[in-house]
Symmetry: D2
Subunit: 399 residues, 4 copies
């Protein structure tokens, strides 16, 4: 680690996640009192001119178009990977072998094989830590859900529902990288459902033991090709040229049924074609003694049902999870109660927790490492197999 | 009282309230176990043909176009008045003098003088009971609010808000009786705000001691005259003829500030021009230890905030007030939990409570009699005076 | 049909559904102008004393403890079956053979074989009509959803979600008939999920072509036996004796994935153990041009998303489906806008539509007959097979 | 202006608003493409040690405990005042006289006299601009409300409601500066209601012409004194010593009725004792053709009612105002749709608009200058006078 309570960060990627992570490193030390301070040392991306502009804008000290050099640079303490999924494996392993801590965007990898190699590399590493950016764990309402379950307030869990509903991928959207299987690994499954699986594991504290049935569907089978580009971002308006089209090779929608280690049954659905739902990352967990509900579209709010209190006043309680005085997670760093934080704060909170972990302190809630994220990856693989073979798949079969 | 646990009811009025009350008498004994059974003895209304059709449809045994004969009929136990406000006084006093119990639609009267006479007549009566149809008291969510306050769960009350927001009275609506001051007494004030005042008094258990400021406004000053008619109902489409217009002589909107006997400050508003709000009968009461919120547009739900529990899980709890097992008011008579009841059930629940009162049992919640409704009428008078004289009005000034 | 625009109804069953149907026949002709009037001719139930009390309370002219005699009575026009599922077949066929119209509670039968026989009997009948009480079709918000889809406002449908979530069946609830497979046929599946399947078919106008995977679970495997009783109702408090228990032989929860004839993918879930959800009959349908969402816990409201309007003001619109002036289904019979109706009105509206159908008029929305309800029954059978054999089941396989 | 498209900012104040403004200057140039870049030149505050720590944490180049020197420094382009209200006047006038642009926290001043002097100073200034931090104007949902009204979508406005409801000021909260009249000027009125008045003026585009009645109340008349301190922030836990108390000299709650220049009637309420409401900054505006509703507790959402569309689908539409593709205000700078922003982004958006204004570009929505904020101040003064004299106050009387 760099001298005296600083860690030098190298970030690879300057698109959507590049911005989200840069903002996280910029802000975490200003709002949190942390045992180590993240230094925005180097940003790496393919395009030289673009990466330099990005570095200037965000305050990265150095810019590079050669990620291999960057991860090999002894000055770097933490390599942060914020690029499409098919590149995670190579970068992460190189960084680990070079002795760096590694933070990687989710899902862990494009394939289960890649993910397994990454876990192996992490195990071989000598003392470095790994992190995966399942950012929603640090959305305070979801963190509180995790805490309530952990305190035993739900009792035996019967039902889990994990939906991640978006609607941006109508027939007019061109063939972004997110629709290209060789780049993205999968579509709605890895992009969205991975978040739901991680969130369900995080909140319940249980593992999925079986994918009991699955459906994956590509509704829009052909999309317009974007001229001279490997594609942009969700909100990007990469213009398509003429009428040239090519196949979308990922799933627009993924649905599956599952069982959890504690006996609960579960329903999951991820889709980019749920008209009207913009970022509907919803999770519902129902136990014998209580239940929680969350929808990211109202991210400040956790809905909590306490089945143990006086029956006449039982109901769904909408908790605005932003009250430092009430001990709400992360609230002490931010604004007064109900002076709400937003999407980006999940990343900032995670950057803070990464700094805590690297500084020997406890994060507010468990940080997923490669091993942990690999469990989610196994479920993704089981879903693909279940959808393909049209049968239940036990997680025991997925090594 | 009619022999052996029956009471013969005579209802005057066959329009909106005529239907609501007929339905109430029809259903109450089927859903509730009551000490007396209401017999639908006689319906009275102006138009002979219409009242006979109405009697047939609703199962009234007799029909009459002479209300004076009806109230004088010794067979009648309870006279129920469901006609426009300017006729309440004469009918109620005649019925009381004839020895009948009287149930009267709200507001008690068109003027404070009329109301005072009615109270006097009720006091003179020998043992008869009076009732006023402030039906929302028996909407279970509002009844529960009353109960929670009574149990001391709110502590000292700081704030009361009573809004009744509708939007049906745009410039195209013709000159119904509800826009005629000589028939209706007032517009939004008596029609809607009276409900809010009663609800606030009912829930808080306190009285309004001062109207601190008031505004009454007629936005639509001229309306089309309806051909050959004294007007219809809210939902009626009484067609206007040609372009003949006449002045609307009632308030479209009424707003006032107030103080309660326990020290709370309050804000009231009633309007027929709150575009988008259809039947937004809302009340909010905030105390030192808790708070309740209600909006009739989601009538099954009471929102309850308990400021005394573990801070981390404090929030607004949405109680679906329909759970017999939880002791929710009136729920034992109706359907399983969350198999919701509707607007009409406030009337049915009140008919049941009237039967209980007449049979010597306790109603589920206090039934307003003339004296009680007169307190609301005094507030209405204070609002009119405050709006007119543009100054605060102490309720002590309103006798 | 009885002379002169009346139909004599015989109702079998005096429990939960007995009340709901009695109330429907009582009220429909008072609120609707109908081509035929239902006469409450005979109520039949097992217990002589109980059925007589019931008849008196509800105004049934005759009471009987012999349903066979009742259906054979030539005075009867319509036999209405409101008893547990395992008795539907015998009663319906007897009634059809006797020449009666038949209205039957849902699901159509306890088994697919029974259902098939009932359809055959209906086909053989000479001109009689059959009806099945999928009452939620006549909840105005759901009727409007049906109408919007029919008008083409959703375009190609991508996603359907049908959840029916209740929580009344915790471990302390005794072995009611609803937990006895030989009486109920199934648990959450026939009781709740049948409603969701019918609603999805009704709203989309499409058929389910495949059950892609299914899970059925009995979480509470043993329940206390109720002393001297075949069980009560949901809200019943049939006391259990001592500690004697017996196995629950029905599913507490049922989940399945499906495909629709138009290509949509779907997720269904029904459960009695979704803590906090009281009567969460939810349906979501997402199409290329718009979407609808419904939750019975806010039954007055349909949520509607129009993806074709000016993007800046797109969002979920909460329609209070109660506006007669706006042409909302059934609203002209009821109260002013947002003077909400309730659960029971689905039955009343259906009774009115049955009278219309019997009087030669069009119902407001399609009434399910035995043939229609049989399609839902086939899906139920496919779910059972899919859950048992742990594989997808094409509806082609289910005859 | 500092050379080449940079402006040097000096911020006075390092508490709640010091953080909010620092964060705004830090982030605005990273997310927006701006014609001028704000340079975080100097932070000034009373306590030398504290201000230096603050400067280091937030990246201010210089720190000072002498605000007079700072505003006199020729290197400074913009002086930003983020201290309690009673200091605004002196600082703002000094800064204007020194030739600086000035941004000042709201409300403009502690008294109307002070505010008037500030406006005069701004008028005398040679070309400098002034800004007031009514940050909620730049909450995108509220900005959209402003735009919809401006486009004529509401038509004639009938009703305005402006509530700002918090609950943090119970009897246990000690005597912070916010309860000291000589420091704060007022309590809920200047702190909260000022926001509502500004928001109502901003959204409607109209001015308040009369305060028709007002009530101001101090429920908690004595509070514990904080040892050795002038008080902290809302979320501060400045410990009270022993049992020493002193009077609270500000209003806990303020309510008033008003009229707008276009004829609308209005109701305003601000309070710190609305148990259950954490930051309920709500505004409702109802016009002849449509209506808008906003509650900051769900800050991403604007509720919009369009009374001109097909009646069957009219309802409140919940717009998630975060869609760059739909042209939502400020969305192009931030995250994908429904990847929500928070409270702090109002400040960041305003910092961006200030840079635009200083760079000769148009802000996304009108920025309040001293003259504009003075109109809000006049209303505050009218409320105080109305509450004191217990009579309506025409704004014509308030110069």
């Amino acid at each position: 680690m760099a001298e005296q309570k600083q860690i030098n960060v190298a970030l690879i990627g300057s698109k959507f996640m590049g911005r989200a992570h840069s903002n996280a490193y910029l802000k975490a030390p200003r709002f949190f009192d942390l045992p180590v301070e993240p230094v925005m040392h180097t940003i790496a991306a393919r395009n030289r001119e673009e990466v330099e502009r990005f570095a200037k804008r965000w305050g990265w000290i150095n810019a590079s178009d050669d990620w291999k050099k960057v991860v090999a640079d002894e000055a770097i303490d933490l390599v942060d990977i914020g690029v499409p999924n098919h590149m995670h494996r190579e970068m992460a392993i190189a960084a680990l072998e070079a002795g760096r801590h590694v933070a990687c965007e989710k899902p862990l990898a494009d394939t289960l094989d890649s993910a397994r190699e990454m876990v192996a590399a992490a195990k071989k590493a000598s003392g470095q830590k790994t992190f995966v950016w399942y950012n929603y764990r640090r959305c305070p309402a979801l963190t509180l859900a995790h805490q309530l379950v952990k305190q035993g307030k739900l009792g035996r869990i019967y039902h889990v529902r994990g939906f991640y509903l978006q609607d941006w991928a109508g027939p007019d959207v061109p063939l972004l990288w997110r629709f290209q299987g060789d780049v993205a690994g999968s579509g709605s499954l890895g992009d969205l459902c991975a978040h739901s699986i991680d969130a369900a594991r995080f909140v319940t504290g249980e593992e999925i033991t079986e994918v009991s049935g699955a459906v994956m569907e590509t509704f829009i089978k052909e999309r317009k090709v974007i001229a001279g580009s490997a594609g942009g971002e969700i909100s990007g308006s990469g213009a398509a040229t003429a009428e040239q089209t090519a196949p979308s090779t990922v799933d627009d929608s993924s649905l599956f049924l599952a069982r959890f280690s504690g006996g609960a049954v579960a329903s999951f659905e991820a889709t980019r074609l749920s008209t009207g739902d913009k970022n509907g990352n919803r999770i519902e967990v129902h136990g014998e003694k209580g239940a929680v509900r969350f929808d990211f579209e109202r991210m400040a709010e956790l809905q909590w049902y306490d089945a143990t209190i006086e029956p006449a006043v039982q109901g769904w309680t909408t908790i605005n999870v932003s009250n430092a005085g009430a001990g709400h997670p992360y609230a002490e760093a931010w604004w007064p109660t109900a002076h709400t934080i937003g999407y980006e704060h999940g990343f900032i909170n995670q950057a803070a927790d990464i700094c805590r972990a690297l500084g020997g302190e406890q994060p507010v809630a468990p940080l997923p490492d490669f091993e942990d994220a690999y469990q989610t990856q196994r479920v993704l693989a089981a879903v693909v197999e279940s959808a393909k073979n049209r049968c239940p798949v036990s997680l025991d079969q997925i090594k």
